[in-house]
């Protein structure tokens, strides 16, 4: 059992295990902090900056990303100061310039009283939270996609902007995207992610398409079991 620490969030006294982040502790206590890049399956990242909170430790008050900063005894957290709200308003206005349509972003904007962004709409769609890239690397373990460029030219990218050789077509990147930016469809035994096609495997027993061939090959490779072993769907096993 982890050691428990006590802290206050918005005046509320809270106990949380050492090592948890402020965001996790707040969520457990039903205190809402908006966030877009944090995902409990992934290592703390702290990129979107929506989850900023103001903390006081000793005399100094400062802003930290609640998805990274860990709870500590005696920590005072405020989730709604004017300084915090200003950062969130800026962040959401900046993100709206990249994507002013998605309901998830509109909802956060509404909560912050932001009706529209004052910046020119660039409508890039992707908000660069990096969940897809990090999931592919940390959870799936294949690193088929990454980022390219830097700064404002940063993009989620496949190597050389071509069909990614390491992709196993698992679709995890699609599922984690908070703004559904990565398209995926399945038709006639072919799964298409972004614009790349991946053939599906038919179950050896029921004959239904059930998983991308590349994914099964990957399973076979990492488990050292013969490919046939994976060519039957879960229902038929």
């Amino acid at each position: 059992m982890a050691e428990m620490v006590s802290l206050t969030i918005d005046g509320l006294k809270i106990h949380a295990p050492a090592g948890t982040t402020i965001l996790e502790a707040a969520t457990d206590a039903n205190i809402y902090i908006p966030h877009l890049c944090s995902n409990e399956e992934l290592a703390p990242y702290g990129a979107c900056r929506l989850c900023m909170v103001e903390i006081t430790q000793g005399e100094r008050a400062r802003l930290v990303a609640s998805c990274i900063f860990e709870v500590a005894d005696g920590l005072e957290v405020k989730t709604n100061t004017e300084r915090v709200l200003n950062v969130r308003r800026l962040v959401i206005e900046l993100l709206l310039a990249r994507n002013n349509k998605h309901p998830a972003l509109r909802k956060i904007a509404d909560e912050l009283g932001v009706k529209e962004t004052r910046f020119p709409i660039e409508q890039k769609g992707c908000i660069l939270c990096g969940q897809c890239v990090r999931t592919c690397r940390e959870v799936v373990g294949v690193s088929a996609i990454g980022f390219s460029g830097r700064g404002i030219t940063r993009k989620v990218a496949t190597p050389f902007m071509e069909s990614p050789p390491d992709c196993i077509a698992c679709g995890s990147c699609v599922y984690v995207c908070p703004v559904q930016f990565i398209p995926m469809k399945e038709e006639n035994g072919v799964r298409t992610i972004m614009k790349y096609d991946y053939p599906m495997q038919k179950c050896r027993k029921c004959g239904q398409y059930f998983a991308p061939k590349k994914q099964l090959e990957y399973f076979s490779k990492i488990t050292n079991l013969p490919l046939e072993h994976f060519e039957t769907c879960v229902d038929c096993r």
């Binding site: 702290g46 990129a47 860990e70 962040v91 993100l95 310039a97 910046f119």
Partner: protein
């Protein structure tokens, strides 16, 4: 060189080298820092060497190619010892004459002497020149006394004395205490206490521990770290050795900008020679202390000057910073305790160990001790590197050392601290420069770039310049920096194009605060500074661009026109010849005109007119 096995052996070697050198032997030192090399000083070195051969003076006259002397404006520089005669703007073919006249006959060559622009007096000795006189060259001054590729030279000036002292029985804790007491603060930007950083790394659990020398000097307009690496690499190694010993580290990294080929070369040679001598490697000087250094060349990303991004880069990833809620001293390179300090900070260490913390503390102000090297550049007469005690005023730096503004123009501002710094106006010229005073006026020490601006510098354009720089250098990880700086740049661009709106200034100020509060690392956290500080002191210039669609300094292309003053035009046709779009036209010996519809405002006519007839308005 033979390997030395004990501190005693190293001391004897040092003595031996010192005794073998005759201080009265003539020595010609040629500055071969990057600045002087650009003037062609390598050729000069070669010419001196072949002239020495020709005149059978080998062994009788020493020729030394040293690192940067700092007075880049007047290069190529040559110093002749033992008389300490200082020649500047030396021609590449002057070698023969200097040897014949000055070295052999003791005659001074008048035209190569520095002339004080104020008194018109010719100055003979290096240390009498106003540029040097007001400086305190504790760290940087040794550059002129050594050939950076010669370990013997470094030993001859007492090099590695501090290492010997440390290994001769100073406890690691005592070393850390000494550095703490000295009050040495990081010279790379943050200004954090070096001693405290060492202590935290020493105490942090986990092995191995790493130390890193941050030589990814990315601030445009600052080059003191390069000059130290190029000119005196051994002192940096000595500082690192002492730090590693105090911290308990056996591996060090030097992360150096790849744009600095000479620095890479010189530090690589220095490391190899130190290994040969046995002061890097296993069981250094028989103390049981192991330490070696690896050199990593950077990939060209300003953000890698940030500690955590630098670590990511050494680990083979792109330079993305991570939140520093846990310091690198606890979890740094490969998640091990890591100490990072920049070049200049490391170079201060041997000095403190040799002369003592109390001596060091006596220099500087209450909370900023020692000296700082500044790169004094831009619209200034004496461009160069200057090392001054903390607490000196900006006015002394700009006017006494820097010699004021060229062409008698008016000082407008000095931008201190690189892209994260701020512009300081004339009203603050008497500010005593130290870490705290600079922050108080909205600037920062940073790595010590000082860019002087005159009345022909547009402050909105300068702010836009820094924003463009930071937009390009942002890693793109966090939203406020990536998107915020980009949007702010667009607003500023609009203003310089004459399309600014009155509410823009309010928006910029609001954004600036939120970007500072919200960004992940120091790059975004300071990115708005150049904008906010120019807005604080030069709001009227912004307003002129927005309300009157006018660029008072005559810089912003969209807001200026080039015209020809008929009174001054002689009809020499130079502008017509050079104009790439045939906008400037006219007959010979007749007044020329510029067709505004054709003009692309390239500035070629303005630059080439010998009669100042082309006007910007």
């Amino acid at each position: 060189m033979k390997k030395v096995k004990t501190a005693q052996e190293l001391k004897s070697l040092q003595e031996e080298i010192k005794n073998s050198r005759d201080p009265e032997k003539p020595c010609i030192t040629i500055c071969a820092g990057t600045g002087c090399l650009t003037y062609g000083s390598q050729k000069l070195v070669d010419n001196f060497r072949s002239e020495i051969e020709k005149q059978n003076l080998k062994g009788k006259v020493e020729v030394r190619a040293s690192g940067c002397h700092g007075f880049c404006e007047r290069g190529p520089l040559v110093v002749i010892n033992p008389q300490n005669i200082f020649y500047q703007r030396v021609g590449l073919d002057d070698a023969e004459e200097i040897i014949k006249e000055t070295v052999l006959n003791g005659q001074i060559i008048d035209r190569l002497l520095y002339v004080d622009p104020v008194t018109q007096e010719k100055i003979l000795h290096e240390d009498e020149i106003p540029f040097y006189k007001r400086q305190m060259r504790l760290v940087f001054g040794m550059n002129g006394n050594i050939d950076p590729n010669s370990l013997e030279d470094y030993l001859a000036i007492g090099g590695y004395n501090a290492l010997i002292k440390v290994l001769n029985g100073m406890e690691p804790e005592a070393i850390i205490e000494e550095i703490k007491t000295a009050g040495l603060r990081g010279r790379g930007g943050g200004g954090f206490s070096m001693g405290l950083k060492w202590e935290a790394t020493r105490k942090a659990p986990g092995l191995p521990k790493y130390i890193i020398c941050n030589a990814d000097e990315g601030d445009p307009g600052a080059y003191m770290d390069r000059s130290l690496l190029e000119g005196n690499p051994y002192s940096i190694l000595e500082g690192m050795l002492i730090g590693a010993y105090a911290i308990g580290s056996d591996t060090g990294y030097i992360y150096v900008r790849n744009e600095y080929p000479l620095a890479v070369k010189n530090i690589t040679i220095a490391v190899e020679k130190a290994r040969e001598l046995g002061i890097l490697g296993k069981d250094i000087l028989g103390s049981g202390f192991d330490f070696d250094v690896l050199i990593v060349r950077g990939g060209g990303a300003f953000v890698c000057g940030e500690e955590t991004a630098l670590i990511a880069s050494i680990e083979g990833r792109s330079g993305e910073p991570r939140a520093k809620y846990v310091f690198p001293s606890e979890r740094g390179l490969y998640n091990k305790p890591t100490n990072i300090n920049n070049v200049e900070t490391w170079a201060n260490v041997p000095l403190i160990i040799n002369k003592g913390a109390e001596w060091y503390r006596s220099i500087g102000t209450e909370n900023s001790k020692g000296t700082k090297i500044f790169a004094l550049v831009g619209k200034i007469n004496n461009t160069g590197l200057v090392e001054v005690p903390m607490g000196i005023t900006l006015r002394e730096i700009v006017y006494d050392i820097g010699g004021g503004i060229p062409k008698g123009r008016k000082f407008k501002a000095v931008q201190v601290g690189g892209p994260s710094g701020g512009c300081i106006p004339e009203s603050h010229l008497d500010l005593q420069v130290d870490f705290d005073a600079l922050s108080k006026v909205g600037s920062m020490m940073g790595s010590g770039g000082m860019i002087v601006m005159d009345d022909r510098t547009c402050m909105v354009d300068v702010a836009l310049y820094f924003l463009k720089f930071l937009e390009e250098e942002s890693c793109g990880k966090c939203t406020p920096c990536r998107e915020g700086v980009h949007q702010m740049r667009l607003i500023l661009e609009r203003i310089t194009e004459g399309n600014g709106k009155e509410e823009d200034l309010k928006t910029i100020e609001w954004m600036g605060k939120a970007i500072i509060d919200g960004s992940l690392c120091g790059l975004g956290g300071t990115a708005p500074n150049p904008v906010l500080s120019t807005l604080r002191y030069f709001r009227d210039e912004y307003e002129a661009h927005i309300k009157e669609k006018r660029c008072p300094a005559g810089v912003c292309k969209a807001l200026i026109t080039y015209t020809i003053d008929p009174e001054l035009c002689t009809g020499c046709m130079v502008c017509a010849k050079i104009c790439p779009v045939e906008a400037a036209t006219g007959e010979k010996k007749e007044v020329h005109t510029i067709d505004q519809d054709k003009c692309i405002k390239c500035g070629a006519c303005f630059e080439s007119c010998k009669f100042d007839a082309v006007k910007v308005s």
